[in-house]
Amino acid sequence: MKRLDLSKLGQYVIVIIVAVTLNFALPRLMPGNPLALIAGVDVGLLTAEERAQIIEDVGLNEPILNQYADYWVSIATGDLGQSYRSGRPIKDIIAERLPWTLLLAGGALIISSFFGIILGAISAWRRGGKADVPLLTGMIALQSLPSFWLGMLLISVFAVNLGLLPSFGAISPAANYEGWEYFKDVLEHAILPIVTLSVLSTPGVYLTMRYSMLEVLGEDFIRTARAKGASERRVLFGHVTRNAIAPVVTFLAIRFAFSFGGAVIIETVFSYPGLGRLVFEAVSGRDFPVMQASFLVFTAAVLIANLIADLLYPILDPRTRAA
């Protein structure tokens, strides 16, 4: 592998700086304040001094630039501070939430890439054929489904009416399963949200794959491969798919990062204890440190995904390797 390009790195740095600044500014630009959250209950009963004390305790009275500088320091030291609401270190909170979101996003990534790539390949290979038309139409239709609606309907059908799967949460509450039981429990809870996320992201993979395949199919070297006497199978797997996969992988990387953001709706619908729900709650309560930290995680996810895509691309497509 070639070392990472410096100017590319510089661009990442710029994006990070701007994104972090926005992450800092957005919560503070929002109307409302975190007082109620920090004070706990019945904020109306506080005296003015008590209010001031609370604000001072969390450092919100400091000049905005100092707060901004502190935020950078906290990022640099990896200490993301404490939640206003629970007072717990945000590192711990994120460490608890992230695996669940990763499970959903990862599960959906695997499922949607599996179906998306295979179906996309079939569709492109038999373009305009019996499989392509319904697949294409169906995928575009799936892409048009409102995600929350789909999630709610799935709950309604599979959890409420059929009673097959749990409707909420990541594990059965307070069940304390172990080993295989635990695994099964987690799986059962993850099925509906993963299916919802997958239904939403498969069409994108499919369309990218189909498009990419069609483009490769039009290339001269496919004709060369046939002229060599390669069978259709071999052409498909040895030449077409291999060449078509690079854009799909890039798409998947980005898609994976964005499913973090998409998790907000899905995790709310399924009461799933991931990062998306954390953000939603932090935003409603103006839990500044949690908001900042989780935006940071989102930003990092997108940047890392981009980076991975950038690093993978030359492996998948030798033309882009530095000469």
């Binding site: 959890a159 749990p166 307070a174 009461s271 729900r277 409603s284």
Partner: protein
């Protein structure tokens, strides 16, 4: 009020629960017959409440209610919402309600086996006073001293008469163990867990997964007898529809949140699911900025109050599951309610009022004008409460009939709060014209708190969000706060209701009922406390142990 309760029934003697007419065999009998078949109840809440220590719970409801499963207060609400002796066997006061003398019950243990003593009570009062934390410190304002006398007597001296001290403090404050908390110097920073979640209450929090679940185990040595429910699992949902799905799919057994009105009949119709319903003291009202034209004109406010059809709101929005709002603030279920202020819808009267006061539609577009232009206002609601949104829509429809145009603006909750109550301090003024607003149950539960809502002096009327000011109202409100004689106090409240109905500091529309859904096959001993609902230790104790 004072009274004593027999505390000897500590070891759970089997007793029949209220006739619930369930298909199940009588639950406690089952418990007795097969002791290895514990009663487990799974409850749902919306939004986490954190670690449920006195400094870390989040909301007044159901956070405080869940907190109090682990702790006890000196007094305990009964089904009517009145405080009754609890940890304190007896509660006595002097005539001007400044000295409260309590006798502690015997043999009360914390869940770690330590005895609960008067020292713990004294410690608790001092601790909450010193370590500022909103709710309980405020309760204790005005406490001059707390002294103990022997093993069982505690004397609390107040600097001024406080007729509601039992309600706001004695029945509200959890007694915390000195041997744990004396080492906690900074409770805001301190993190709690099941080791330090030590109380004397009927339950022990044994398991907590943030934003997912709580598991409470019954305290078999509870001083009022072992609870009827052996294990309570509280599941945290992200939104209101999650619990509704889960109770249908049999994944939970009770919802610890009020269900919305349309669900009442639907859920009740399902088989093992029953509904416990009763009056609650939450409110739905219209606020306006009384300091600005035209709401500074009493005629306009009165016209609005006359023009709204409270019954229609109760019928349409709450499908009947609410009480029509009293223009005088006090809930009709309350003893001190003054029936003379009952609301009558009178559109013609409202129009006449406005015409008289000079608000006419001079350009014929159906909207009246005032000095500042057309009477066209924005009414804020918070988008997370859909019933409030509907109320706003209906009010807009109703006010259109008197030539006032209302545009409903639904905003996210914090934004709405910030506009109506900037920084939660009325000194910051107001940034709205009209808003649908509501107070939580405690404000209504303690009737004399009405002073906080209407007094023109910000120190007293710190919940006076509309900026209302009327010397007559102020005078009565302030007198009310220290009135020791219940009869006089009732008289004053009666007058105040009339003044409020006339002065219209806000337009009270309705008091929504509380309705709770539960699976009666699993447990049906739920007790509805007036004004508070079913989420309380009472629901989980044997009927005989309830006050």
């Amino acid at each position: 009020s004072s009274g004593t309760t027999d505390t000897t029934s500590g070891d759970a003697s089997p007793a029949t629960t209220a006739a619930g007419g369930t298909t199940d065999p009588e639950p406690t009998e089952t418990t007795a017959a097969t002791t290895d078949e514990p009663v487990v109840v799974r409850a749902a809440v919306t939004g986490g409440e954190d670690t449920l220590n006195p400094y870390t719970y989040v909301s007044g409801f159901p956070g405080w209610n869940m907190l109090m499963l682990q702790y006890d207060s000196l007094m305990q609400f009964d089904v009517n919402g009145d405080p009754q002796p609890w940890l304190a066997e007896s509660v006595e006061t002097n005539d001007d309600l400044t000295v409260w003398t309590l006798t502690l019950a015997e043999g009360v243990m914390f869940s770690d086996g330590e005895q609960l003593t008067v020292d713990d009570v004294e410690f608790t009062f001092n601790y909450f006073t010193e370590k500022a934390a909103g709710r309980f410190a405020r309760d204790l304002r005005g406490v001059e001293s707390v002294t103990t006398d022997g093993d069982r007597t505690i004397t609390i001296t107040l600097d001024a008469p406080n007729p509601a001290f039992d309600l706001v403090a004695l029945a509200d404050i959890p007694i915390i163990p000195e041997h744990i908390w004396s080492e906690v110097t900074d409770p805001e920073e301190h993190q709690f867990d099941s080791v330090t979640n030590i109380g004397s209450g009927p339950y022990v929090l044994v398991d907590y997964v943030e934003d997912q679940s709580y598991r409470f185990e019954a305290n078999p040595d509870y001083f009022r007898g072992a609870p009827a429910v052996d294990e309570l699992v509280v599941v945290v949902f992200a939104d209101d529809s999650g619990p509704l799905a889960a109770i249908r799919s049999n994944e939970i057994d009770v919802i610890f949140e009020r269900i919305s009105p349309e669900q009442i009949d639907l859920l009740d119709a399902l088989d093992p699911i029953d509904i416990s319903q009763g009056p609650e003291f939450t409110t739905q009202m219209i606020n306006f900025d009384v300091t600005k034209a035209p709401f500074d004109d009493i005629a306009v406010r009165q016209a609005i109050s006359k023009a709204v059809d409270r019954q229609d709101i109760v019928d349409t929005v709450f499908l009947g599951a609410a009480t029509v709002g009293s223009p005088g603030w006090v809930h009709p279920e309350k003893a001190v309610y003054n029936p003379a202020v009952a609301a009558e819808r009178d559109v013609a009267g409202a129009n006449a009022l406005l015409d008289e006061a000079g608000y006419t539609d001079s350009d014929g577009d159906g909207i009246r004008e005032f000095s500042g232009g057309p009477m066209s206002f924005e009414m804020l609601t918070n988008s997370s409460d859909s019933l409030r949104l509907r109320i706003a829509e209906l009010v807009a429809e109703m006010l259109a009939e008197i030539g006032i145009e209302v545009t409903v603006s639904s905003v996210e909750t914090a934004t709405w709060e910030e506009a109506v109550w900037p920084g939660f301090d009325i000194a910051n003024g107001r940034n709205y014209q009209m808003a649908v607003w509501g107070w939580s149950a405690p404000v209504q539960a303690n009737t004399i708190r009405v002073a906080e809502l209407v007094d023109g002096n910000p120190d007293i009327g710190f919940l006076n969000l509309t900026g209302f000011s009327d010397p007559a109202v102020d005078a009565i409100a302030e007198a009310l706060l220290t009135e020791a004689d219940p009869a006089v106090s009732a008289q004053q409240i009666g007058e105040l209701q009339v003044l409020i109905a006339e002065g219209v500091p806000f337009v009270l529309l309705a008091y929504p009922d509380g309705a709770y859904a539960y699976n009666s096959a699993v447990y049906d001993g739920w007790e509805f406390i007036a004004g508070q609902g079913i989420v309380s230790k009472l629901s989980l104790l044997d009927a005989s142990a309830r006050p």
